[in-house]
């Protein structure tokens, strides 16, 4: 009994000494208190004339956010600004971010980044190089960062806006991009999508576009088309929607169709898009785009009455034509102007005709530009809202 107790005592003593020694001698390496980091909410990357990278960060001040959120009328105390924006240039993104520590007080933490804005200059030079850093860094959250390309404005200027809608401008920009769910006029690209598209030789990247609108607001509309990581051109909002229809990324949107003397807004509530490549004799002969969509009548300013199924069939046809027109416009842009397979036809070729793909892999965009495209839109109108026809005085 006595011996056993001794053994325990010795064991405990040794374990205690061991752990204290370990704890004392080592300390905490990766420990970093929340108050000792600068939470980066938005990143802007641009390339300067001399080839250096200009990185802009927007950093949030949590205390200021809290006070603006909780006590708006707490006057008297000078309000701290909720965010600050700093820029720094460096050879690489990482270099710039680290060098920036010479002007900011705490380490920059990228895990909270909501938006990554790529400058036009950078995009024209190629984005693949700078994206490497964002993949490699362990703090980045691939699935929460919205990637946007700034048009006609530098990322730095864009991040400096102070909007009234949200204390954090980055959140404001992110939310305008999120509205794509109900608008479908901007391409929303999360970082993970971009990374996947960049690695996929059968599909070129398309990134949403953001521009400055006045002093305090941004406009998130349209998209930038890339070819092999380099900016090839822009899509206007309607072409963007054509692109989204074709790739099946439309969640809901409003399509205006002309009718008689008035206008009709059709609310697309469901849409599926599929691209395919038809092979003949081992060679691709035809590219097809099939879209099936379901819509409601959202607003009807037309003259003709709307109470028979035939009226709806007529609307379906017009809607289909309208959507087709938009897709056609996008296809033309992609084939003729930008020569970039943004729809992912190449992926289809890669998946189902790997032998042929090996031959054309490098020149696929040129092959793509020359192929005829067949677009089929099958629109269905199911509901008309609360009422059937429009107001008629004599009804």
């Amino acid at each position: 009994m006595k011996c056993r107790k001794d053994k325990y005592a010795v064991k405990i003593a040794i374990l205690a000494v061991l752990s204290t020694v370990l704890l004392l001698l080592t300390g905490c390496w990766s420990y970093r208190d929340l108050t000792e980091i600068n939470m980066v909410t938005a990143l802007g990357v641009d390339r300067l004339e001399d080839g250096k990278v200009l990185v802009t960060v927007q950093v949030v001040e949590p205390a200021a956010i809290q006070s603006t959120a909780s006590g708006k009328g707490k006057g008297g105390v000078t309000q701290q600004k909720p965010v600050f924006v700093e820029s720094y240039e460096g050879e690489t993104v990482f270099d710039a971010l680290t060098s920036m520590l010479s002007i900011v007080d705490k380490k920059l933490f990228l895990g909270t980044a909501q938006v990554l804005i790529l400058g036009e200059g950078l995009s024209k030079n190629g984005i693949n190089e700078v994206m490497d850093f964002f993949q490699r860094n362990h703090e980045m959250e691939y699935d929460t960062v919205d990637v946007l390309v700034a048009k006609d404005v530098t990322p730095k200027d864009l991040l400096k806006i102070e909007t009234d809608m949200d204390p954090i401008p980055a959140m404001y920009i992110k939310k305008t991009a999120e509205n794509t769910v109900s608008r479908a006029k901007v391409k929303r690209t999360m970082m993970i999508d971009l990374i996947k598209e960049m690695g996929n030789s059968g599909r070129q990247a398309v990134i949403g576009q953001v521009a400055k609108e006045g002093e305090k607001e941004v406009r998130t509309e349209g998209a930038a088309v890339f070819r092999d990581g380099k900016l090839a051109g822009w899509l206007d909002p309607y072409a963007t929607r054509g692109y989204l229809f074709a790739t099946g990324e439309v969640k809901s949107t409003i399509v205006n169709i002309p009718a008689d003397s008035g206008k009709i807004s059709m609310e697309v509530i469901r849409s599926k898009g599929k691209v395919n490549v038809v092979f003949r004799n081992g060679e691709p002969a035809l590219l097809t785009i099939q879209v099936v969509l379901e819509a409601n009548v959202g607003e009807y300013e037309g003259e003709r009455k709307l109470d028979s199924p035939d009226d709806l069939h007529r609307l379906e046809e017009t809607l289909g034509e309208e959507v087709k027109k938009e897709i056609r416009m996008t296809v033309n842009l992609a084939q003729k102007d930008y020569s970039s397979d943004i729809f992912g036809f190449g992926t289809q070729v890669h998946k189902y005709h790997p032998q042929y793909w090996k031959k054309v892999k490098d020149g696929w965009n040129d092959t793509f530009s020359k192929l005829p495209v067949d677009i089929k839109v099958d629109a269905r109108v199911t509901r008309t809202g609360f009422i059937k026809g429009q107001i008629k005085k004599d009804g």
């Binding site: 053994k7 040794i14 000494v17 020694v21 370990l22 001698l25 080592t26």
Partner: protein
């Protein structure tokens, strides 16, 4: 360096008195001391920045000699 020594001393203090008390046969001591000494030597070399060629390399070399691996 000091930390490594400290850890090894603690480990030895943890085990050896137990062995002595229980009057273990000599072979236990020999094997124990051999393994610990080897570990200590390697870890001191590593800490000093003089990394000896690792077993992974030896194995690769042997396999290359035989000609299985290019």
């Amino acid at each position: 360096m000091v930390i490594i020594l400290a850890v090894f001393i603690i480990l030895a203090l943890y085990d050896l008195p137990r062995f002595i008390r229980k009057k273990e046969p000599v072979k236990v001591f020999v094997v124990y001391v051999f393994l610990m000494a080897a570990s200590l030597a390697v870890s001191l070399l590593l800490a000093a920045g003089k990394r000896p060629a690792s077993p992974a390399r030896w194995i690769e070399w042997i396999l290359k000699m035989i000609g299985v691996v290019k």
